[in-house]
Point group: C2
Chain length 338, copies 2
């Protein structure tokens, strides 16, 4: 499979970051790919830490690391000049560099020339692979689950990761399939759906979750929302190409408006399920919704439990917050596998 | 506006084509942009003609032509070696070269070097413009019509062209907005939606039909189909970004299966209208369907008239074949403008 594949294990690079909110990629890697993260490294002045051991690039390479991942973002998504020395040192130490940022590593002359001279790779995970086909729409073997959201940035990736892990813990053969840069870094591979040329987007989804053993589950990270004024086309292409047997709809209670689009109300959960099943049945007639993932991070334990129970009753479906786990999450997992 | 803009008038190049089906672009330009087509040119052995005068590149340049358009395709969408001499001669004569094919003109060393040396442009209209924004979803002034299809390749472009022409004939300020390579050649500008990166597809549609005078109509060429297993995402992005006041659904009677996807039935007209209005109302709450365009090219006059009448009765909407015109088409135009 010609998806992006990444040299591992990782050394996580934190730049000169003082704001934990900018280190979401590093935290996501620590939480979901901890076994592939050897340590962290940062410029002087950084105050954010993942809690992993601080290693110089030389120490990390000696300990087995094969790449350094830029685990932080800044508001522009760019790669500041002040990080270059650290990136060069990592390449000298034998590490490839991996970035999920908008800026391309190869667009910096000094990084490109150093990499070419040292024989290192500069890997931009937002770059889709070559050879993506037009979607065939043909049915394929294997089971697939897709997370869908009522909006962006409310838990589609974490829900897919938690479900894939829960499937594996039950002895089921399951693979998390990443569609965005952080997911790709966590999985060590995937396709950045948002960077694929529109005509090939459904084909990319087919490529990402290829035919598999009848009992194998691909658990696919959703993107955008079918109601999003800018990204709905990406979401629909991913839904059509993934041909999911099962969808799980992700929602953040209390979010009123689409992030960055204050004129657009977040759609209801039931409305989202209805539209997703209608559209998804075009390529997977047996598609069904197994339940709902609620992001209750802003609620206390008791409020979260009450809301989850109430929504489950109202919708007639299993509802859980995968980050809280518990019996409600077990019911959601069972509903997926039913 | 930074959409593709093309040097005109055109000399139409027919290659060495002997199969009229491969010259659809040239015929489309003759039919819809005849005032911008000075003549035709071909290699020895070509038997297909548009009926326009045969001019050498030198004669065409003297007559005012500023570009030679590759008006034929072949089954691979490539640019055969045997055309190179003609393309070089055109550049020597002063003409830029325009291509709507998959192959990029600049990928041929001999063409690129000749163009650079002579100061000519090699224009691939499948190349989207730079600077396409993420869609804002914000409402904008001006009226917009979008054609939508039950499948690909059944008349969305011709319907949009015919409606734009009919609007203009009634003294209404209207602009045809092209979204595919042939449409772009006809219009002299536009955005190839299928080549835009997925995250920017709705933004491209916003860019293509920008805010305009309240009485101005943009008549936008649809792409794909909301039911297409490979291209539905493109269709949805175009629908959301276009924010149409009015849609016209295009259908070919008798087509049973999606072109190239025999496992997929062509959806019904009523089902297509219903889904398009449901999805389109997200960014244009007042969206309505003005009627249906039937491609009756395979029917005789009497059968076409009967079918149009019957479908109009059944759907409760104006139905017409824009290529046949007549009273039914007048009713469709009036319904669009109502």
């Amino acid at each position: 499979m010609s998806e992006v594949l990444l040299p591992q294990p990782y050394l996580l690079f934190l730049g000169d970051t003082t704001e934990p909110g900018y280190a979401k990629t590093a935290f996501g890697l620590r939480d979901w790919a901890g076994e592939r993260c050897i340590g962290e490294y940062a410029c002087q002045g950084a105050t954010v830490s993942t809690g992993l051991p601080f290693l110089t690039p030389e120490q990390a390479y000696a300990a087995g690391a094969r790449s350094m991942v830029i685990g932080v973002a800044n508001s522009g998504g760019y790669i500041p000049f002040t990080w270059h020395a650290a990136l060069l040192r990592a390449m000298e130490a034998g590490l490839d560099i991996i970035s999920g940022m908008h800026a391309r590593l190869r667009d910096f002359d000094v990084l490109r020339e150093a990499a070419d001279q040292l024989g290192r790779k500069l890997i931009d995970v937002r770059q889709p692979p070559a050879g993506i086909p037009i979607a065939s729409g043909a049915p394929r073997k294997g089971k697939r689950l897709l997370t869908l959201g009522t909006d962006c940035a409310l838990g589609k990736k974490y829900t897919a990761l938690a479900l894939a892990r829960a499937f594996s813990n039950r002895g089921i053969d399951a693979t998390f399939r990443a569609t965005g840069q952080t997911g790709i870094l966590i999985a060590g591979g995937g396709i950045p759906m948002d960077a694929v040329v529109a005509d090939f987007a459904a084909g990319a989804a087919e490529m990402l979750s290829p035919e598999a053993d009848a009992n194998h589950w691909d658990v696919i990270e959703g993107q955008g929302s079918l109601f999003h004024p800018a990204y709905a086309g990406v979401s629909l292409a991913l839904l059509h190409g993934s041909q999911p047997d099962v969808i799980v709809v992700c929602h953040e209670p209390g979010r009123k408006h689409v992030l960055g689009h204050p004129g657009y109300e977040v759609p209801g959960i039931a409305e989202t399920i209805d539209l997703a099943l209608r559209l998804g049945s075009r390529t997977r007639p047996s598609i069904r919704c197994a339940g709902v993932s609620l992001n209750t991070a802003k609620l206390d334990e008791e409020s979260a439990r009450r809301l989850i129970a109430w929504e489950s009753e109202r919708l007639g479906l299993p509802v859980a917050d995968p980050m809280r786990g518990g019996a409600s999450f077990d019911r959601l997992v069972e509903s997926c596998l039913a």
